[in-house]
Structures are given as structure tokens and as C-alpha cells.
């Protein structure tokens, strides 16, 4: 501790220690008095006889407080004050003018030059001490504030850096999936995850796509934390062939488990079947999704469910709305951020804005572009919100398989080569359980088949859906191909499923190694009656007669194209296919 040599000191504000005080006065006697006064108060004094000296000492001595005579030869106090304040920059160095000036305009000039206060002659010890202490408090407060500000800047910089790192980690789990597909347009801020928005898209193994948009309550890390398991569940399950309903159920259960009671996730799941021209949509708490054909709004898919993460599994409903589409139809889905954009007058963009953008659509303009530019126009100079997520999914015609990229070539040595497996589901399980992911999983144990997951999934799902819908439920497939029949088909399907009794669907697998690779045989049998194909109106084609009654249209084409052989028995209630894979 270097305590002041003189009085043990009342004059120095607690904790601040001695100050370095720069004084400048051209009068030698005045300077001597002031210097002695300040020294007695325990401060360290730097003294200058004119403005030039003062500025030079300011540079070399780094004083805490400056006392300047207003009128001095060789650069007067005003000029020196300006120079000193300029040098001090952001540093707060209180500058007190010593003056016997009294005219208001003179005093005002001192303040304009950067002066923080005045001290008048004759010097008064008490007054000087009080002033120095007061200005020192101001200096310390400023110092504290700017230290805190610097700390906050630093913390904020670190936070942003951490967010970027977290974002990269998040990207590995919640990659953009197939959001870059040509039929998808989207806007999502790079850090939107920290405002709680998520957007995922995945191709389905047998064609079609799943899109999920979500909006977590809250901001920052908590919102991002919830998004991780949602991403993992979505991509994991979508890739394995689970449907939207299964994935929703799983996500809901996970979120109920991990989120605090007051957090939830508004979300929308979209299943797009491009081959059938069909969309299944589940909306829990997100704004309406808009189905647009040309510039006409065909449907609005409103929220019919509670958000994810609130209801227990047994209360949670995964019922989706099904709509038929034509190639070129576009589904616009968005989070709250879109509707809550505001203009300079504080008005909200709202649904009115969305409708305005879509209905004012000039031909050839994509509704996504129209909506984005309308939002930009509306918000004007206001900055865009960071939690605005908008996605447009376009329907197109796609026959059969999705162009799923084949996985990397695995070692052909690993995995089972010779095996049999029979899996049968019965009765009410037919209504409640989708066995396809499990069956696919079994087949995927064979590395050679893993590369063909899309084809295998398609085979399995065609076999299964045919057995269920036409075999067990006896739904006439031609219903699906007329618009009136379409709704009837799906409502009837749900109705009949709930009343299933004395029924089963059985899959038998047999896999054996071949010198070129391997062969998988699948037999799918169901408890249905088959039906009278002789009188079936769709039976006029050659293929139908060769194949049996129930494989009309696309199912047959797909199976024939993918399988190496296909045989039908018992009016289609037993189907055998054989599938070869090559090294």
C-alpha cells in the first residue's frame, strides 16, 4: 500500500486511492497553491504553465482529473480542453475549468470546449476537495459502466460465438435434409433455431416427402435444446420409413418427457405423396398452411390439435387431414413470425398480408417469392424478425420410387446371409401398428440390402398396403382414382380398420447368399377373401389378367419393376416376390 505521505486521508474517496491530477495555470503562485493543496489531499500532481504543456503532460502522465485555467498564453484553456477530450476518447477524464470568469457566455464556452465543471478563485480548500471527490465519483461510475459495457460486449461476442458452434453441432443432427430439393423453397434465419423455429424435410424411403415445421415457446438455448431431439427423431424415423403419425407420436412423447410444463412446440407435419397426388397434414398450433393452385387459395389447413409436448400419449391425436392435389399445387407453411411481422406503424402483417400476397399473384410468380417480397415491402425499413420461417412445398408428378441416393457401399462380409423370419400381425394390431419400419429394419441387417433401402421399403409397403386395404378391408382400389371416391375411400378405410376381426397379415422372409450377392424372397399372405376379379371393371388390361385381381395400376407396375419375379396365389391373398442384389 502506498498511503499518502501526508494526512492519512479523508480527502480520497473510499477505494479510489490517490489520483493523478493535471493542473494548468499560467500564474506561478496560483499553481503553487493549487499543487500544494492537492498534494496535501494525497493526490499526485502534474503541473503545467500553459495549454501546450498541459496537452503534452496529459499524453505522458495519463491523469485521472484535469484542472485547467481558462485563459492562458500559448494555447489557452479552451483549446487545450478540446485537445485533451479528443485524446481521452472514450475514457472519462473529468475536466474542471479554474476561472474567475463570470459572464454566462464565457462559462458556456468552457462547457462547449468539453469542460465538466468550474472552480473559481480564490481557492477554497473545502470546495476543491469536494469538487475533486465529486468528479472522481463520476469518473468511477463512468469507468464501472464502461467496464460493464465492455464486459457485456465481450459476453455477447462469446455468446454469439457459442451459438455458432452450437449451430454447427445442431446442423449435424438437424441438417437441412432435403430442404434443397427443387420442389421446396424456404426461408429460415441461420440462427432461427435460437428463436425456437425448426424446419426439417426428409425423403421417404418409398417416395414422397415428410416436412416438419416447428416453433418452440421461448428463446435462446432452451428453445434450441428442445429442437435437438425433435430433429433426431424426425430424421431417424423418416429415414426408416415411419409415417408422419408415428413420428408425431414419438416427438410428442419425447417433448412431454423432457420439456418443462410451460414449454411446448407448435408444429406441423406434412406427408407428401407425389405419386398419389396427396397431402396429409397435421397442424398443432401453427398458423394456417395455405394450399395454392395458380393464384387461388384452395384450402387452408388450420390448427386442429394442441401443440406438441403437452398431452400424454393416450390423449394425443395424430389424426391428419388428407387433401388431393395436382402437380404444381403449392403448400405454404409458416411460423408465427410471418404473421407477426410489423411495419413502421406497428401494424401486423397477419393473415390479411398472406392472403394479399397470394391473391395478388401475377402469373409466373412463385407464391413463395410473392410472399417474401410482400413481407419485405410491408416491413420496409424495419428489420426482419429472426424467427420468421416460411416454407413452400410444391407437388409434382413422380412415378414410383423416389430417387433416394444409395448409401455408401458396406462390407459384404458383415451381417446375416442365411436366415428366415416370419412376422404376423393380427386383429386390432392391424389398426394400431405399422409394421413396415420393423420389417425394413430386419432386412437392413443385410449390408447388400441396406444400399437398396428405398426399393425394399417400396416392395414391403406395396405388399402390406395391398394386403391391408384390399385383402383385409376389401376396399375397392378404383375409389382412390376419382375425386368423389377419394374421401369415401379414406373414411371407409378408417371405419373398417376399427372393426377388424379374425384377420391377419403375415410376412415370411427368406434370404440366401448367391455368388453374385444375395436373394431375398418375401411372401405376403393375408386373411382376406380376394375378390371376383372377373367382374372387376379395371381388369381389362393384360397385366391384370396375368397377375390376379388386386394389383391394379401403380402397385403392380412398381412390384414388377423392382422384383425379379412375382407370383400371385389365392386371388391375390398370397403374393410371392423374389429380389436379387449384387455385390
Amino acid at each position: 500500500m502506498d498511503a499518502p505521505a501526508t494526512e492519512p486521508d479523508a480527502g480520497i474517496a473510499a477505494g479510489s486511492g490517490p489520483l493523478r491530477v493535471l493542473i494548468a495555470d499560467d500564474s506561478d503562485s496560483d499553481r503553487l497553491i493549487l499543487k500544494t493543496l492537492l498534494t496535501r489531499l494525497g493526490h499526485h500532481v502534474l503541473d503545467a504553465a500553459n495549454g501546450h504543456e498541459a496537452v503534452a503532460l496529459f499524453h505522458s502522465g495519463q491523469p485521472d482529473i484535469v484542472l485547467l485555467d481558462a485563459l492562458m498564453p500559448a494555447m489557452d484553456g479552451m483549446e487545450a480542453a478540446r485537445e485533451i477530450k479528443r485524446c481521452a476518447g472514450e475514457r472519462m477524464v473529468p475536466l474542471i475549468f479554474i476561472t474567475s470568469l463570470s459572464a454566462a457566455e464565457d462559462l458556456a464556452r468552457c462547457l462547449e470546449a468539453g469542460g465538466d465543471g468550474f472552480l473559481s478563485k480564490p481557492y477554497n480548500r473545502v470546495m476543491i476537495e469536494a469538487k475533486i471527490n465529486a468528479f472522481n465519483r463520476m469518473r468511477l461510475m463512468h469507468q464501472t459502466l464502461s467496464d460493464q459495457r465492455d464486459l457485456m460486449h465481450e459476453r455477447n461476442r462469446k455468446l454469439l460465438e457459442e451459438q455458432h458452434v452450437a449451430r454447427r453441432v445442431f446442423d449435424n443432427v438437424a441438417h437441412t435434409g432435403c430442404l434443397d430439393a427443387p420442389n421446396i423453397r424456404y426461408h429460415a434465419s441461420p440462427l432461427s433455431i435460437f428463436s425456437g423455429d425448426v424446419l426439417f424435410a426428409s425423403p421417404r424411403p418409398a417416395g414422397g416427402m415428410l416436412v416438419f415445421a416447428g416453433d418452440f415457446t421461448g428463446h435462446g438455448l432452451p428453445a434450441a435444446m428442445g429442437a435437438m431431439p425433435v430433429a433426431e427423431t424426425f430424421y431417424g424415423m423418416a429415414g426408416k420409413g415411419f409415417d408422419g403419425a408415428d413420428i408425431l407420436r414419438e416427438i410428442n412423447q419425447k417433448l412431454v418427457h423432457i420439456l418443462p410444463k410451460d414449454m411446448f412446440c407448435c408444429g406441423m407435419m406434412v406427408e407428401a405423396d407425389f405419386e398419389l397426388g396427396q397431402l396429409n397434414v397435421w397442424n398443432g398450433g401453427l398458423p394456417d398452411a395455405w394450399l395454392v393452385r395458380s393464384s387461388v387459395v384452395l384450402f387452408r389447413l388450420s390448427s386442429r390439435h394442441l401443440p406438441l409436448g403437452i398431452l400424454s400419449t393416450d390423449q394425443f391425436s395424430v389424426e391428419m387431414e388428407t387433401i388431393r392435389t395436382l402437380p404444381g399445387d403449392k403448400l405454404l407453411l409458416m411460423t408465427d413470425g410471418v404473421l407477426e411481422c410489423s411495419n413502421e406503424a406497428g401494424e401486423l402483417f397477419a393473415e390479411r398480408g398472406v392472403r394479399h400476397a397470394i391473391e395478388g399473384l401475377s402469373s409466373g410468380l412463385h407464391p413463395f417469392d410473392a410472399l417474401m417480397s410482400e413481407i419485405r415491402r410491408f416491413t420496409g425499413r424495419q428489420k426482419f424478425r429472426d424467427d420468421l420461417t416460411l416454407c413452400c412445398l410444391e407437388m409434382f408428378y413422380q412415378e414410383g420410387l423416389a430417387a433416394l441416393p444409395e448409401g455408401t457401399v458396406p462390407s459384404s462380409l458383415a451381417g446375416p446371409a442365411e436366415w428366415n423370419c416370419v412376422y404376423e400381425i393380427r386383429e386390432c394390431t392391424l389398426e394400431k401398428f405399422n409394421p413396415l419400419p420393423l420389417l425394413l429394419h430386419i432386412c437392413m441387417e443385410v449390408p447388400g440390402l441396406r444400399r437398396k433401402s428405398g426399393e425394399i421399403y417400396t416392395l414391403l409397403s406395396e405388399l402390406y398396403n395391398n394386403a391391408l386395404e384390399h385383402g383385409v378391408l376389401e376396399l375397392p382400389s378404383e375409389w382412390k382414382y376419382t375425386s368423389e371416391g377419394f374421401c369415401q375411400y379414406y373414411s371407409e378405410r378408417a371405419k373398417r380398420l376399427s372393426g377388424v376381426s379374425d384377420h391377419y397379415i403375415r410376412f415370411s422372409f427368406h434370404h440366401e447368399p448367391m455368388h453374385w450377392g444375395g436373394r431375398l424372397r418375401i411372401i405376403c399372405e393375408d386373411s382376406g377373401q380376394g375378390f371376383d376379379f372377373q367382374n372387376h371393371p379395371a381388369l381389362q388390361s393384360m397385366e391384370m389378367e396375368q397377375s390376379g385381381p388386386r394389383y391394379a395400376g401403380r402397385g403392380l407396375i412398381l412390384l414388377k419393376r423392382l422384383a425379379d419375379s412375382i407370383r400371385f396365389h389365392n386371388q391375390g391373398s398370397r403374393v410371392e416376390i423374389s429380389y436379387d442384389w449384387y455385390f
Binding site: D28, S29, D30, I33, T36, S100, K121, P122
Partner: protein, 118 residues
């Protein structure tokens, strides 16, 4: 102005308290400084430089007030006002008054220091 003392005893007592051993150095400094300032006042007046005159008077005033030479301070104020008005003719008698009063101040300090030493 007659009733204003040449030196403010009270102010000087306080200064002595603050300056301790350096009190006599302070007085010497003040006196040397003041001679120079009076010369500067005269020079400015001769040149008819009212700005320099004003500044010199202002500055001199400050040190006089500080040292407790109250009457001299008042005279400097008078000179400053004259300079500010650009009226150096009126300044001339004031400068004479300042010179005379300064002699009184020197004498008063001499007396004080002798008394002190004694």
C-alpha cells in the same frame, strides 16, 4: 475602496496553514510574478492592444484574489473591464493605481514576513 484592506489577513492565515514551510516561497513567487504582470499591462497599454491588456489584467486578478491581495484584485478587475470595453485611455490611470497598490502590498508582505520571522 479605501475600506478594503491591502491584505486579507484571514485568507493569508489559511494559506499559511496550507503551504506550511512553503509559505514564504509562495509570497516570493507571487511578488516576482506580479512585477512581470504589471510590466505586461504597461506594455499592452502602450501598444494599444486591448485584448492582451484584458487577459493580463484577468490573470493578475486571479492570483491577487488567491493570495489575499484583495484591493489589488479589485483594481485588476477595473483594468479588465476597461480593456474589455476597449477603453485603454481609462486603463492608464488604473495601471498607475495598480503600481501604487502593488508597492503597498510589497510593504505589507515585508511587514508580515518580518513579524513572522520575529
Amino acid at each position: 475602496m479605501v475600506d478594503i484592506p491591502h491584505l486579507d489577513e484571514e485568507a493569508l492565515a489559511e494559506l499559511r496553514d496550507v503551504m506550511e514551510d512553503e509559505f514564504s516561497l509562495l509570497i516570493e513567487t507571487y511578488l516576482t510574478d506580479s512585477k512581470e504582470r504589471i510590466e505586461r499591462l504597461k506594455e499592452a497599454m502602450m501598444k494599444g492592444d486591448s485584448d492582451a491588456f484584458t487577459k493580463a489584467a484577468h490573470s493578475f486578478k486571479g492570483s491577487c484574489i488567491n493570495i489575499g491581495a484583495t484591493r489589488l484584485g479589485e483594481l485588476c478587475q477595473k483594468a479588465e473591464t476597461a480593456g474589455r470595453n476597449g477603453d485603454l485611455n481609462q486603463g492608464s490611470p488604473v495601471v498607475d493605481e495598480i503600481s501604487t497598490e502593488f508597492q503597498r502590498v510589497i510593504e505589507a508582505f515585508d511587514t508580515l514576513m518580518v513579524r513572522d520571522v520575529g
